[in-house]
Amino acid sequence: MRFEFTLAEEAFRSQLLTWIGATLPPDYDSAADDSDDAQWKLTLRLRRELAGRGWLTLAWPKEYGGMGASPMTQLIFNEEMAFQRVPGRDAFGARMLAPTLMVHGTEEQRRRFLPSVARGEVQWCQGYSEPNSGSDLASLQTRAVDDGAEFVVNGTKIWTSLAHRADWIFLLARTDPEASKHKGISFLLCDMKTPGITVRPIINMAGEHHFNQITFEDVRVPKDQLVGGINQGWYVATTLLDFERSGIDYVTAARRVIADLAEYARSEPGSNGQRLADDGEFRARFALLAAEAEAARLLAYEVAWLQGQETLPTREASMSKVMGTRLMNKVTDFGLELLGAYGQLDRGSDAAKLRGRILRSRFECIAWTIFAGTNEIQKNIIAIRGLGLPRNY
């Protein structure tokens, strides 16, 4: 048992923080995001810097050019980048696709796709969900028909983040419509410039463009872009899912909001000359949120620790996702209450407090309890896989 980081880990954190301090523009508006073109430029610039330092591929094995860092070091990296709201990380390529290729890809696929990800030069996106296949992902209907040297893909993917900025997509498509629903799916890599692909923007409730709907009409995917064998796609896609759910990003975002709100409560006068920080109601609510945030943080640390122990922390990862995403909803909603009338002011209003960031975050995190497996799906995983309860759906 040890509830502190090693000296090496702390040294890495310091190095990272120094770099962040030196790199992040002083006027950086952390309420901006990648839907903003200027912000996206910054993202790409920082990504290349991260790549140059090897941090984009921090946890990749050394044999693939990575730094072979432990899951805990990766967690520290993610935690600080999230807390400081630094853009530049690459979830789809470096954190999702690359480990998948290392396990399931061919040697040729690894040689072909990993280096550009490692250099931060190629943007990937993820084609999983479909309009009629959300929580029931395995019911997906996008078809990939064998046509000799190629698959011919037809269908629609939805909620695809960054599709409009992506060079490539990894997607799941049905290759055997006769098989039971989990068994007829394949995992394909596809160049977004292939003819037949149409990307339609989906604007979210914050007015931002993150998501897209992608239609595939007779899109031809060469067979050497099949990963993990025909009809093995479900297996390929899910073996690595747990590693996407450490939850540290969620809880860290929440901790940052708490920190911002605490600073606001210290500095802003409330009514009747009493600082918000001295108000009994707010003190009680802050204290409970701080405790929950600390508990959620440790849960995410535990997931990383278990990963380092070479165990698959399925149950803990789901817990961490539920706890972190819910906490973010709680703290942003609390923030709006703390801000009172000011809480209704969006980014760009001159009278807005904290640059309207709390409202932006309030909107943003509504999606978090839904994406990457709804919290209801996560609770099913905890109950069924974690505690041996029977299937309930």
Binding site: G134, I202, G340, A341, I366, E376
Partner: protein
């Protein structure tokens, strides 16, 4: 106790429901987000023609002379379609302010114009410290012989970018007692020295802004009610605004419930409607409890105001509960809808935004706390 409606009330509600559903689909709400007033002239004229803008205006001044309950029924339906525009500020608050405190000349001039649709009104009370308390009113009213000079700023002015007439709360700096210092002034938009800010970006895409008064000179005929008597009027407007906002919020929540129940019946995953999973079904059931209870408690407050009671406690309880119930309803609706619910093209988010706005309009739960606690002698 009677939770039912009279035949006349049912007609009003049904009429409102029919008209509003027709005129105000989600596409209309979206297009109004970019409209300078939030309500096109032809729609506003229709509201006037139907007698809605003058619903609370006494018949002597060209109105329908109806009461707050009837207005509540219209607002509930407006909430249900997320109807945008200056109706609330003008037809509810502006009318109430003039009816409560206006002299004959003011009523005759302004109430008629509200009823005939030629005037919109806005209440300018809140400032940097947006608390609904006399001490928070710092905007100064300085006597200059017979006239007054107003200096200061107002924030969170609803429809501030479009209203024709502002009801401005200002404090006489020569009066030390905060409540006794407050006087209300009727200030037409074009009065020299009134500087209206840029339209704010708000959660509800409404038309709030800040206004600066730079030694704005107004005459004694601009005083609404008695000099130094502004606070009791404001307090009553605060109560009316809170109760009516609560029923509008409940109307929105009701629509969110309907929308979610419908989605849960139709959307299928794992081979059956998602409403057939307890996780979703129970969320919808919780929403129904919030909606029904928020609606009842809002009407209790409105009815008691309509009876002429002070009703501060009932209003406070209604607004506190609406604030809680309607935001929780929105959260449950999003979780039931999944990804589609937080897209701009889906109507759900319109209601979510509006619930968050409603929570801090005419008092957040802290503004209403003491009155709510009075109901349990605390």
């Amino acid at each position: 106790m009677d939770f039912g409606l009279t035949e006349q009330q049912k007609l009003i509600r049904d009429g409102a429901r029919t008209y509003l559903r027709e005129v105000c689909p989600g596409a209309y709400v979206r297009s109004m987000q970019r409209h300078p007033t939030g309500c096109p002239a032809e729609v506003w004229r229709k509201l006037s023609d139907m007698g809605w803008t003058g619903m609370l205006v006494p018949e002597d001044y060209g109105g329908a002379g109806l009461g707050l309950v009837e207005m509540g029924l219209v607002l509930e339906e407006m909430g249900a379609v997320a109807f945008p525009g200056p109706f609330f500020e003008t037809a509810v608050i502006g009318t109430s302010a003039l009816s409560l405190a206006g002299d004959e000349r003011q009523k005759s001039s302004y109430l008629r114009r509200i009823a005939d649709g030629s005037l919109t009104v806005s209440l300018a009370v809140q400032e940097r410290d947006p608390a609904w308390q006399p001490s928070a009113i710092k905007c100064a009213a300085d006597r200059r012989d017979e006239d007054w000079a107003l200096s200061g700023e107002k924030l969170f002015v609803g429809d501030g970018t479009s209203a024709g007439l502002f009801i401005v709360a200002a404090a006489d700096r020569s009066v030390s007692q905060a409540e006794a210092a407050v006087t209300l002034f009727l200030v037409p938009r074009e009065t020299p020295g009134v500087r209206i800010g840029e339209r704010w970006l708000t959660v509800d895409h409404d038309h709030q802004t800040g206004i600066t008064f730079e030694a704005v000179e107004v005459g004694p005929d601009s005083v609404l009610g008695k000099v130094g008597g502004g606070w009791p009027t404001l307090r009553r407007l605060f109560l009316i605004g809170a109760a009516m906002k609560a029923v509008e919020m409940a109307g929105g929540a009701r629509r969110v419930l309907e929308m979610t129940a419908e989605y849960a019946r139709k959307r299928e995953q794992f081979g059956k409607p998602i409403g057939g999973f307890q996780a979703v079904a129970h969320m919808v059931a919780e929403m129904a409890i919030y909606v029904e209870s928020a609606r009842n408690i809002a009407y209790q407050a409105i009815w008691r105001l309509a009876q002429g009671h002070d009703a501060a406690q009932e209003v406070a309880l209604a607004k506190v509960w609406a604030n809680e119930a309607c935001v929780r309803t929105a959260e449950l609706a999003h979780q039931s809808h999944g990804a589609i619910g937080f897209t701009q093209e889906h109507d759900l988010q319109i209601y979510t935004r509006r619930a968050l706005a409603g929570r801090v309009t005419y008092g957040d739960s802290r503004d209403h706390r003491d009155a709510a606690l009075a109901s349990i002698h605390l």
